[in-house]
């Protein structure tokens, strides 16, 4: 359904994916294919299954039918790693900003070209390193989560409403990050409220989940 003319093998693909909550069928027979350097933008009304599809792609939910396939890393044979940005950001209130980034890097590995401090500078939280996370505003917390994306070495980004809670400069920041990620050979799936919100330059496919039902 969603395919771009890129010759590289897909990083993440779904085959005949179907999912339903009790009686409510969200989608069935969904074939997606995300190659390096492309993005998939999910839109649709509330409850149309944007978050559900992201959770299915991330392996946080098991599909009723079909399956999700991730590319294998050449060296290790492990499935391509995932960087997840969900509704709940996964920041520990009891830790400082930098400590939150440190434990994430420990568990998920770190992009060699980034350090936690430079990532914080990039997302506009210069000097916030040792501020307790509980004192941050919703937008600032979102920026910390974006810094985590920058640090992650994962080629597959799954972002659930990355633009929510951010100011217009924050939207530009998300666009810049996604752009850079796509240009360096990654792929991203984003859920948005309005399709025009995702203003990054890279190639993208728009999937309207209201129409896919």
């Amino acid at each position: 359904m969603a395919e771009l003319t890129s010759e590289l093998p897909p990083l993440i693909a779904t085959h005949g994916l179907g999912f339903a909550y009790a009686e409510l069928a969200l989608f069935r027979d969904l074939d997606l294919c995300l190659r390096p350097g492309t993005a998939l933008v999910l839109c649709g009304s509330n409850g149309s299954g944007k978050s559900t599809l992201l959770r299915l792609l991330g392996g946080l939910l098991l599909p009723d039918e079909g399956h999700v396939e991730r590319a294998r890393e050449h060296t290790t044979g492990d499935p391509a790693a995932i960087a997840w940005l969900g509704h709940h950001l996964g920041l520990k209130n009891g830790l400082s900003v930098i400590e939150n980034l440190h434990w994430y890097c420990g568990v998920h590995g770190r992009n060699r070209r980034m350090t936690p401090s430079t990532a914080l500078q990039t997302v506009g939280l210069d000097g916030f390193d040792h501020v307790p996370t509980r004192e941050l505003s919703a937008g600032q917390r979102k920026r910390v989560a974006l810094a985590r994306l920058l640090l992650s070495p994962a080629p597959v980004w799954l972002l659930d409403e990355p633009y929510a809670n951010l100011d217009p400069q924050g939207w530009l920041l998300v666009d810049r990050l996604v752009d850079h990620h796509l240009r360096s050979g990654g792929c991203a799936v984003l859920s948005v409220h309005r399709p025009d919100q995702a203003a990054f330059e890279g190639p993208r496919v728009l999937l309207d989940l209201d129409a896919a039902r």
């Binding site: 991330g58 946080l60 939910l61 098991l62 960087a83 997840w84 830790l95 994430y104 420990g106 568990v107």
Partner: protein
Amino acid sequence: MMRAFFALLARDLRLALRRRFDLLQPLYFAVLVCLLTTLAIGPEPALLARLAAAVTWIAVLLALLLALDGLFRPDAEDGSLELLLTAPAPLPVLVLAKVLAFWMVVLLPLIACTPLFANMLHLPPSLWLPLLVTLLLATPCLAWLGAVCAALTVQARRGGALLALLLLPLTVPVLIAALGTIDAAAQGLPMRPPLLMLAAGSVAACSLGPFACAAALRLGLR
């Protein structure tokens, strides 16, 4: 893989040390259970001494139950469980780090305070050592049983009550073996066989627990 293990262990220990009150809660609870027992039974040191080991064990079990809800639920609520589930490191390794941290911040202080409970309950000094040894040997097993039950109930809305109903029946064999050991010690019988049973239980729990717990967490995704 080891990096992920130590990163998560350090995170959980640091979080626990920052919230001292949460750390003291299970201890305070166990003290209260012992105190209520002494008040309910009244000034009868002989009767108390006979019940002391059993009451201490039950106090530790209840305190464990109280603390267990905090093992996975905060992670599930703030979204960091999703980050652990999507991590490239194997989930059993991450679960091992979490349960080890839990044992260190909840069960180790409880074990360290058992002389206090024993003293409150007039346990004969000759039985302090057997009590401590049974707790040390059995708590890894209890921690893993608890962790699996906590993982199973983490997505349930009223998980706390369900956790108690699930966990307490599973602890019966451990309780029987532990109090059997102390009874044997009180009667001057050899303690080795029941202690070996407890140790075997803990070894089995530590080797199977991480996988069972990881599977239970993934089961909650459905």
